[in-house]
């Protein structure tokens, strides 16, 4: 389509010049003008051919990062389901998946040399560590900190008190929001 339109525009401009010859080229073109025009054309083509693959490469890199973000956010949703079911092994597995994908995002943005601000936004390790503790910690003994003592395990299933379950839900939402903000930061970069 572009080629056809270009050809059509070329023919129309050619016709208009033939009908209304507004440019008198006689004696006006020097070797300098030709060299200048050639150089301008060359620089234009060179810049375009350099920038096009560069932009395509940047877009491809961002797409890879976005795919990891999507996997991490999906894994967080699955984790919510596992926490609701309470099977400890499943919770551990989902936490590992979330943690692995988030750490892959963090490594990717570092390797792709995003700015320090973006890199820092993509690092959710501290939040995940708190989430792991909230989701899987059970008391060592009766003297263990009361704040984390409100979870019990039986037959490999963990049951949380209402307050603990609410804390876990809040922490998952915070992590999800952080990942979405990080994704926006990568998109803007």
């Amino acid at each position: 389509v572009t080629l056809s339109l270009g050809m059509l525009a070329g023919v129309l401009i050619g016709l208009s010049i033939t009908v209304y010859p507004g440019v008198d080229l006689q004696g006006a073109i020097t070797l300098g003008n030709v060299v200048q025009a050639g150089t301008t054309l060359f620089v234009g083509i060179a810049v375009a051919s350099y920038l096009q693959p560069q932009t395509a490469s940047d877009r491809k890199e961002k797409e890879i990062v976005f795919r990891h973000f999507d996997v991490a956010i999906d894994a967080l949703s699955t984790l919510e389901g596992s926490i609701h079911n309470g099977v400890l092994v499943d919770i551990n597995a989902q936490l590992k998946k979330v943690s692995g994908t988030c750490s892959a995002v963090s490594n990717l943005v570092t390797e792709l040399e995003f700015s320090a601000e973006v890199t820092s936004k993509c690092n959710v390790a501290e939040l995940l560590s708190q989430l792991r503790r909230l989701a899987t910690h059970t008391p060592i003994d009766a003297t263990d900190q009361p704040a984390v003592a409100d979870a019990t395990v039986l037959d490999g299933r963990i049951r949380y008190s209402d307050s603990r379950a609410a804390l876990i839900t809040t922490r998952i939402q915070q992590t999800r929001m952080r990942l979405l903000r990080a994704q926006m930061a990568v998109n803007k970069a």
Binding site: L88, N92, S103, L154, D155, G156
Partner: protein
Amino acid sequence: MLLKIASDFSSTPGPRRRSEGNFSGEEFRQRILVPKLKSAMDAGRELVVDLDGTSGYGTSFLEEAFGGLIRNNGYSLTELQRAVKFVSNEEPDLLKEIDEYMCEAHERLSQ
């Protein structure tokens, strides 16, 4: 001397105590970790604990297994820091976490 949890114990580590379910941290410590650690120390060798290959660890499993070495089996923090090396390529953050559990267990005993 190498101890790979996924193959020497279980690929699905479970809760803290035996009474709470299968493949607990307590069972791992008593049945696998302490005998391996003892034989490594007797032979004057380092015990390398490989954490990779499992479906994931809960904090209580790790705390009971490694903090429990200090709390229940009488090992000192410095002794363990010298004799045991942890490897986790899949979740490198676990190494810091385990170190924190051992330090916390040491502090609890000191109090």
